[in-house]
């Protein structure tokens, strides 16, 4: 997975980026990609970036053979994109106003509950869920897009964490419970994620009232 935090911008790099933007803007209206005269002008203006500018011009030349809107290449593994995006979004949430004082990302709902002296069944009750249904969320077996916002809000309130922290946890790929002991010789495969409401319908531990309340959320815009 991409390490989102590994890029550190120095003041020099910021200035270089600004210069490159201005070169690109200058060239916007010209028919010819990048001329030798332009390279000379810019390297004279910013001699400290001579090497970077030469490299940039050479690569822009190579890029000029690529159409601006190329034919869409077949993307074989869209799920990889989902995981990548989830990591990016998590980092974006950490840049939101007021997030600098937030605790680190959730690693488990169970652990988060324990840290608030909450039993797993108590957390389930506060969120209006059964233990197995909360277990499904813990292991991220529910498709994130189908989980009602009300449930995420309730979990966040019970755990006393931000909504974004719970959302970021639930958005990640499914996982088996950490540290579980499996009797079979081989570790079982991680099941496919399901629609949250399919899991509600299949759940036998929810009371009829709980089930009804949850299913009412199905047609509500998320």
């Amino acid at each position: 997975m991409t390490d989102f935090n590994k890029f550190e911008n120095s003041a020099d790099e910021d200035l270089l980026n600004d210069v490159l933007h201005e070169i690109l803007l200058e060239n916007e209206s010209q028919a010819e990609p990048f001329s030798a005269a332009q390279l000379k002008v810019w390297t004279n203006k910013f001699p400290q970036f001579e090497r970077e500018l030469i490299n940039f011009f050479a690569l822009e030349n190579q890029l000029s053979v690529v159409p601006n809107e190329p034919q869409t290449m077949e993307i074989e593994n869209a799920a990889a994109g989902d995981e990548h995006f989830a990591a990016i979004l998590q980092s974006l949430h950490q840049t939101t106003a007021g997030s600098e004082n937030q605790p680190p990302a959730l690693t488990s709902l169970t652990e988060a509950a324990k840290s608030k002296n909450l039993q797993f069944h108590e957390l389930a009750a506060r969120a209006g869920l059964s233990i197995p249904l909360l277990g499904n969320l813990e292991q991220r077996f529910a498709e994130f897009a189908t989980i009602p916002k009300e449930i995420i809000n309730k979990l966040a309130a019970a755990l006393e964490v931000s909504v974004a922290a719970v959302a970021d946890y639930l958005r990640q790929p499914p996982q088996l419970v950490a540290g579980a002991n499996f009797k079979a010789a081989e570790q079982p495969e991680i099941p496919q994620q399901k629609d949250f409401f399919t899991l509600v319908r299949q759940d036998r531990m929810l009371t009829p009232e709980q089930k009804q309340d949850l299913l009412k959320l199905e047609n509500k815009p998320n």
Binding site: T43, I54, A58, Q62, I88, L92
Partner: protein
């Protein structure tokens, strides 16, 4: 009367002029500020740029940055998702069309997109240019990532075969670089694409940009210094590229 978007505060390095969004971007941002949230989210979620009611990339960037400052996760997530979807496949296409090593191309494309979001979420006005020309903002990042990809690739690619070139054959005569049209430059770049990236770039730097192969002046930037290779090696590279162009030129005139 629509609400006005916040003005950009960043100034151009060379002129000191403040950056300005395009009029159509200003107009669209004002329009979106007047929408109710449900409708705004609907419009943000339109991924295809050509679809009716879709938002411009620059508008999405404005909305995303504003949502970040206001901690509006609904708008932040939706805008980020659309920008991501638009850029992810574009990055893979663009880098993939120049890097034949598919895994490396995709890895670099993913990093390009991650870097895009890192820069977009930078504090202050650092990312203002993304609201001026988003395409160029992203292309600059792609360019940087391509350079990294080529560096990695060049470590793996063998350029030894070039050492077998006949050193004693006379240098080829090429047309004056200044007289070559933009279209022909594109064709030349395409013809050179069979060569390792270092060799292509060395040739373009020498032929198009007039960068010297080597120099006795230790302060002068040269191709040999840029690539950390000997003058002899660079000459062999240039010769090989010129040969490719000769074959290409002959094929064209047949």
């Amino acid at each position: 009367m629509f609400a006005q978007p916040k003005p950009l505060t960043k100034r151009y390095e060379t002129t000191g002029e403040p950056m300005r969004r395009l009029p159509e971007v200003e107009e669209q941002i004002s329009e979106t500020l007047a929408l109710d949230k449900a409708r705004l989210l609907e419009r943000i979620k339109i991924k295809k740029r050509r679809e009716a009611d879709s938002l411009l990339d620059e508008t999405l960037v404005y909305l995303m940055r504003e949502a970040r400052d206001k901690s509006d996760l609904d708008v932040l997530d939706a805008a980020a998702q659309t920008i991501y979807d638009r850029c992810w496949s574009a990055a893979r296409n663009k880098i993939g069309s120049l890097i034949s090593h598919r895994d490396l191309a995709f890895e670099q494309a993913d990093e390009a997109v991650a870097r895009l979001f890192l820069e977009l979420s930078a504090p202050g006005d650092k990312a203002d240019y993304a609201e001026v020309r988003f395409g160029q903002f992203f292309n600059r990042i792609i360019n940087r990532q391509l350079r990294k990809a080529f560096e990695k690739l060049n470590e793996q690619q063998k350029t030894d075969f070039l050492d077998e070139t006949d050193e004693d054959s006379p240098p080829m005569q090429l047309a004056d670089a200044n007289s070559i049209s933009a279209q022909t430059w594109q064709e030349i770049n395409a013809a050179l694409a069979v060569l390792p990236s270092d060799v292509q770039q060395a040739f373009i730097l020498n032929y198009r940009y007039g960068i010297k192969i080597d120099s006795t002046d230790p302060n002068e930037q040269t191709i040999a210094k840029l690539f950390g290779r000997s003058e002899k090696t660079i000459r062999l590279w240039l010769k090989k590229a010129a040969e490719i162009l000769r074959d290409w030129s002959e094929g064209k005139t047949k």
